[in-house]
Structures are given as C-alpha cells and as structure tokens.
Symmetry: C2
Subunit: 150 residues, 2 copies
DNA sequence: ATAAAATAAATCGTTCGCGATCTAATCGCA
DNA sequence: TGCGATTAGATCGCGAACGATTTATTTTAT
C-alpha cells in the first residue's frame, strides 16, 4: 500500500492491522497482570472495577453501576451477589422505589480499599509508560469508545 | 494534582483515570459494533477473529492459533468445535504428530471470506478515525500489550 | 381511579476465557 | 531400547458478558 492509496481489502483483513484486536488482546493482558495483585484481595478483575466505583461513591443502584461500567443488569446481578456473599457489599431494595436495589459497601468492603491502595501503582508500573503518556492514551481510547457507542 | 507532583492515591483510584478500564469498556463497545455485522455471517466476534487468522494462513495447529490470538487451548477447543459444527473448518489430528490437531478451512469457510470483505470498513468507519490515526493508535496499544506481557 | 406503558432488576440460555488437571503422544538420554 | 520428561489438546468448573424474557413496581394517561 502506498501512501496515497486507501488501505486495500487485503491490508484490512490482516489481524495485526486490527485496532479491535489490539484492544481485545491488551484487555486480556491487563486481566493477567491484575490476577496476582487481586488474588490477595480475593477479587476478580471485574469485581475490582465494581469496588472501585463504590469506593468512589457509595450507595448506588444496580442501574447506575451499570451505566458507569457499561454493563447490563444480567451481568451485574450475579457479580453483586458474589460480592455480597463475600461480605464486601449489601444489596437492599430501595424503600421509596421498590424496583431499585441499593448497593452499599459493608465495613469490610470499605476496609478493603486500604489493601487495594497499591494496586494502581503496580499496574501503572507494568505498563512501562510515564503518567502523562498513560493519561493521553487513556483519553484517546475513551474518545474512541464514545465514537463506537454513538 | 499539580504538574510537578506524581499522581496521588486518590487520583489513581478513580475509575475514569484507569487505562485498563478504557481498554476494557472499549473492548465491549467493539463487540457491540461487530454484533450486527457478524450476525449476517453467523459468527461471534471471537469466532470471527479465528476465521481472520485462518484466512491469513490456512492449516494451523490449535497451538499456533492460540499464540496468534493469545488464547489457551481451553478457550480454543470449544470454539473450534463450534466452527466445525457450523461447517467452516475441519479439525484433524496430524498424522506425523498425533498430539497436534490441524485446523483447516472448508470450502464454505473459504467462501465466507468474501461475505466478510466489507466488515473491516464498517468497523473502521464506526471508529470515526482516519486510517493513519487508527494505525498509530493500534500500534501504541500493541506496544502496551507487549509491555504488560513481559 | 384504573388500565396501559415504562422502568428496574432478576432469570435463563449461550458463548468466552482461564487455571488446573488429565490423557495421549513424542522426545531425550542414559 | 526403554522410561521419565515434555508437549499438545481436551476436559472441567467457575466467573464474566449479553440478549431475550420475566416479574414486580411505578408512572402516565385517560
């Protein structure tokens, strides 16, 4: 492919040229890097993301967690039940609107935050990127996500 | 956070500052964008990636597919069985080394390639990015993946 | 005031993805 | 040559993830 041409079907059909595959495989890579760090907290990677959202703002509905994480209730409900079984959160129907379930941190869930404090640095480290670069790349990808969901 | 400081724990603990979450959620966004395009081919997104690898190079072992896609045999074996059941590939033990399974496209699997020809452009379009940008971003993320797996 | 529409979460069935383990085949080397 | 180590896939159990559907509640419109 020369500079002036638009990419050919041939080029577009190569896995290594897929932006989506770069994302897909890097996502798996992150999961692997997180594994040993999160094992100590007894959390899976998606469970950890839920906890991060709750540490940021406690007492949220399933719906608001889903909006924040881009997940459906069919994904969250079972996950939240697991976190509840582990004692990190409580799930209670909202008295004012019984359709909603309010998800709150337990004492144990709040306490976990301290244990998780050093996780982000461990991850940032594994990327081998400088903080500023990292922020820029993150922002570019978030923008891409917005385009895709539009 | 001022320019001179390194990021605080507080900052690092916010979901929106997580590079990994940008990747995680953008991966899901890609899956959603692919869905309607791949429905016409009766393929899931991961199945499509397997087909792309085979269209690039036919007759590979489970191991080489896994190396290419960063997937384990425990993931691939069931997927390949589904693709076989759909008639797109065949799985045959290698006569020279019976430990290996050779995965080959069927006539139908090769034919599918034409139907899939316009998928990449549809996706590229949905990103709203120019080809050159897209290549650069893809490369940055692939480099990140390499760092993470190191 | 009540029936219809909308909303929130849960449930079900299917596919992915992994780690741990198992089985079968091949290799290495004494 | 033969037996222990290695390798390649397959299997199993578990946790995501989604779409489609269901159930329960609330809102709206008549």
């Amino acid at each position: 492919m020369t500079k002036a041409d638009s990419p050919s079907h041939e080029d577009l059909m190569k896995l290594d040229n897929f932006l989506c595959f770069a994302i897909y495989s890097t996502n798996h890579a992150f999961t692997r890097v997180y594994k040993p760090l999160l094992d100590e907290l007894d959390l899976t990677y998606p469970q950890y993301l839920v906890m991060v959202v709750l540490w940021e703002k406690d007492d949220q509905t399933v719906g608001s967690l889903g909006e924040r994480l881009f997940l459906e209730s069919s994904t969250l409900t079972p996950m939240l039940k697991r976190l509840e079984a582990m004692g990190y959160i409580s799930r209670v129907r909202d008295r004012a609107d019984e359709r909603q379930v309010r998800v709150k941190l337990t004492e144990s869930g709040r306490a976990l935050r301290e244990k998780a404090e050093n996780v982000p640095r461990g991850i940032a480290n594994a990327t081998g990127m400088k903080p500023a670069e990292l922020v820029r790349l993150k922002q570019e990808i978030a923008t891409l996500r917005t385009s895709l969901l539009r």
